[in-house]
Amino acid sequence: MAHPVLRRLAAVPPAYWVFALLLLTLWIARPNMLNPNVLGIFVRQVVPLGILVLGQLLVMRVRSIDLSGGGVILLINYIITSRTFPEASGLTFVALALAIGGAVGLLNGYMVARRRVSAVIVTLAVSIILVGLVQFLSSGTPPGDVPKYMNEIFDIKYGPLPLPVLFWLGCTGLVWLVMQHSVYGRYVEAVGESAEAAAFSGVPVERTVVLAHVLAGLIAAVAALVQTGSIAVGSVRVGLDLPILAVAATILGGVVFGRGEGGVWGPFFGVLSFALLFVVMTVFGIDEAGKLIAQGLIILMAAILYGTRAKRG
C-alpha cells in the first residue's frame, strides 16, 4: 500500500466499491431490472433506514452510538396508528414526533456527555424502556391503521423518482451542509479526532456531544414518520432492527467511531448498497439465511479493508 494511488484508493469508503460491484452484478445478470421505476421502489423501502443513518453517523463521529432509534420509531408509530389523539392533524403528529425524538436525544446526550455513562448501555436502556412502554400501552396487540394521507404522501412520485427518495436526498444534503460548512460540523470533527485535544482548543466537547444526540433523536423522529407512511397498518415490532442496520450501513460508508472519511455520502451509499443487495439476492433467489450471511460478510470485509490502515479506535 505504499503507492500513493493505491493509498488513495484504499481510502475510498467500502460502500462505493460494494455499490458499484452490486450494480455491475445486476447489470450482467438482469439488465432489465436496472430501470428507474423498479429501482425506485426498492430504494424507497430503505428511506427510513437512510434517514436514521444520518443521525447514527453524527453520533458515531463523536465516538458515541445511538441504539435507541428503534424505540423512538416504535413509539411514534404507535402514537400515530393507535389514534391516542383522534383529533390530531398531520402537523400535530409531526410536532409530537419531533418532541419525542428531541427529548429522547436530550436524555441520551445528557447521560453520555454529562454523566459519562456508556453510550451503548444508555441508548440500549432507553430503547428497552420505549419498547416496553409501547408493549404495555398496546398490551401486545397491534394498533390500528395508518392515516390515509400519510400513505398517499409516501406514494407521490415525480416521474420515476418517489417523493420519499427525494426527501432523503434533501435531508442528506442538509446534514452534509451542516457538517461541511458550519462551525458545529467542525466541532464534531474535532471531538471525533480527539476529545482531549478538542477540549484544550476551546471546543465545547460536552455540548457538541449532547447536540449530536439531540439531532440524532430528531432525525430518528423524522425516520419514524417516513416509516409510518410506508406501512398501512401499525405494528408493535416495526423498526426494531433499524438501529443496528444503521450502524452497519454507516460503517460500510466509511464512518467508524471517531473517524469520518466517508463523510455523509459514504453512509448514503452504504444504505443504497443494502437496498441493492436485497435486489440482487432476490434476483438470484437467495433466501433469508443467505442474505444474513452476505450482509455479515460485507460488513466484516468492509471493516477489515478499511480498518487495517488505522489503529483500533
Binding site: M111, V117, V122, I128, G132, A195, L300, R312
Partner: protein, 320 residues
C-alpha cells in the same frame, strides 16, 4: 473484609465496580417477594427461578471477560441459537456436544483475531459475526424442531438429592470463571489490559510484558465458550433446536453485567457483581410474574433499572 465489602458501594477506587447496589436490590427483592407473596418461597418456584436464570447467568459471565478488556461481544445470542441448532442435528451425543464447543471456540477465535489483528472495532466485528452465524443457523434449522441428545436433557432437567441440576451448572460455571479470573495469570492480565484501555492507552499493559493481543483473543474465545454452554443448557430446556432462542440474548447479558457494576470502558468489573446482576434480572422477571405485573411493563422496568444503575457509575471516559 469490611473494606472489601464497602468498596462495592463506591464506584471509585475499586476494580470490582459498584456491585453493592445489585446486592441490596437482590436482597430487597427476595425479602419483598417472600413476605409479599405465598408462591415465591415455594420449592417449585425456586426450581423454576434457578432454571430460568441459568442461561443468562452463564452468558453474562462470558460477556464479562470481553467487557473487562474494553470490548463487547454482540455475537453471544447467535452463538446460543447456533448451539441449539447443532445439538438438534442427527448424530450421536459424543460428537454433537464437543462439536458445539469446538465451533464456538472457532467463532470466538475469529472474533478475537479480527478485532486484534485487523483493527476492527469489537462492536462491528461481533455484529458481523452475529449476522453470519444467524444465517448459518437458519440454514441448519429454518424453524424450531429436531431433538436434542438425551444426555443434555437429562443433565438440565431433573435433580440429585433434591437439588435441581441447573444449580450445578451455575456452580460449575461460576467456579470455572472464578478460577480463570481470580486464580490465573490470564485473569490478572485481563484486568491489567482493561485498565490501560479505560485510561485511553490501549497498549499500556504491554509495557509490563503482557501479550495484549493474545489475551484479548482468549477473552473472546472464553465469551464464545460460555455462550455455547448457555446454548447447550437452553437446548436441554426446550428439548429442540431453535434459530430464534438466542435472539437479543447478548443485550440481556450486557444488561446483567452492567447492573453488576461492570464498566464497559474496561478494567472494572467482578464475577460476583455479574452473578448478582443476573440474579436481579431473574428475580425481577419472576417476582413481577408472581405479582401479576403485566409482562409488557416488565420490559420497561428492566430498562429503567439499567438506566438508573449505570447512571450511578460515572467515569472519566466519554462515549461508547
Amino acid at each position: 473484609m469490611i473494606r472489601w465489602f464497602t468498596s462495592g458501594f463506591s464506584a471509585r477506587r475499586s476494580r470490582h465496580g459498584l456491585w453493592g447496589v445489585p446486592l441490596v436490590i437482590a436482597v430487597a427483592l427476595v425479602a419483598i417477594l417472600s413476605l409479599g407473596t405465598d408462591q415465591f418461597a415455594t420449592r417449585e418456584n425456586l426450581f423454576n427461578l434457578v432454571a430460568q436464570a441459568m442461561p443468562l447467568l452463564i452468558a453474562a459471565i462470558g460477556q464479562l471477560f470481553v467487557i473487562l478488556v474494553g470490548g463487547l461481544d454482540l455475537s453471544v445470542g447467535s452463538i446460543i441459537s447456533f448451539s441449539t441448532a447443532i445439538l438438534s442435528l442427527d448424530g450421536p451425543a459424543v460428537v454433537l456436544i464437543p462439536a458445539v464447543f469446538v465451533l464456538a471456540a472457532a467463532v470466538g477465535l475469529i472474533n478475537g483475531l479480527v478485532i486484534t489483528r485487523m483493527g476492527v472495532h469489537p462492536i462491528i466485528a461481533t455484529l458481523a459475526m452475529q449476522y453470519v452465524l444467524l444465517g448459518i443457523t437458519r440454514i441448519l434449522r429454518p424453524v424450531s424442531g429436531g431433538t436434542v441428545p438425551d444426555l443434555v436433557i437429562a443433565a438440565v432437567q431433573g435433580s440429585v438429592l433434591g437439588v435441581p441440576l441447573p444449580l450445578f451448572w451455575g456452580i460449575i460455571a461460576v467456579g470455572l470463571a472464578a478460577k480463570i479470573l481470580y486464580g490465573s495469570r490470564f485473569g490478572l492480565h485481563l484486568f491489567a489490559i482493561g485498565g490501560g484501555v479505560a485510561a485511553g492507552m490501549d497498549d499500556a499493559a504491554s509495557t509490563y510484558g503482557i501479550r495484549v493481543g493474545r489475551n484479548i483473543v482468549l477473552a473472546y474465545v472464553a465469551s464464545a465458550l460460555f455462550a455455547a454452554l448457555a446454548g447447550v443448557f437452553l437446548a436441554g430446556r426446550i428439548v429442540s433446536g431453535d434459530p430464534n432462542v438466542g435472539l437479543l440474548f447478548e443485550l440481556d447479558a450486557i444488561t446483567a453485567a452492567a447492573i453488576g457494576g461492570t464498566q464497559l470502558s474496561g478494567g472494572v468489573g467482578s464475577l460476583h457483581g455479574t452473578v448478582l446482576g443476573a440474579i436481579v434480572l431473574a428475580l425481577l422477571a419472576n417476582g413481577m410474574n408472581l405479582a401479576n405485573v403485566s409482562p409488557f411493563i416488565q420490559t420497561a422496568i428492566k430498562g429503567g433499572l439499567l438506566l438508573a444503575i449505570v447512571g450511578l457509575q460515572s467515569r472519566k471516559k466519554m462515549g461508547l
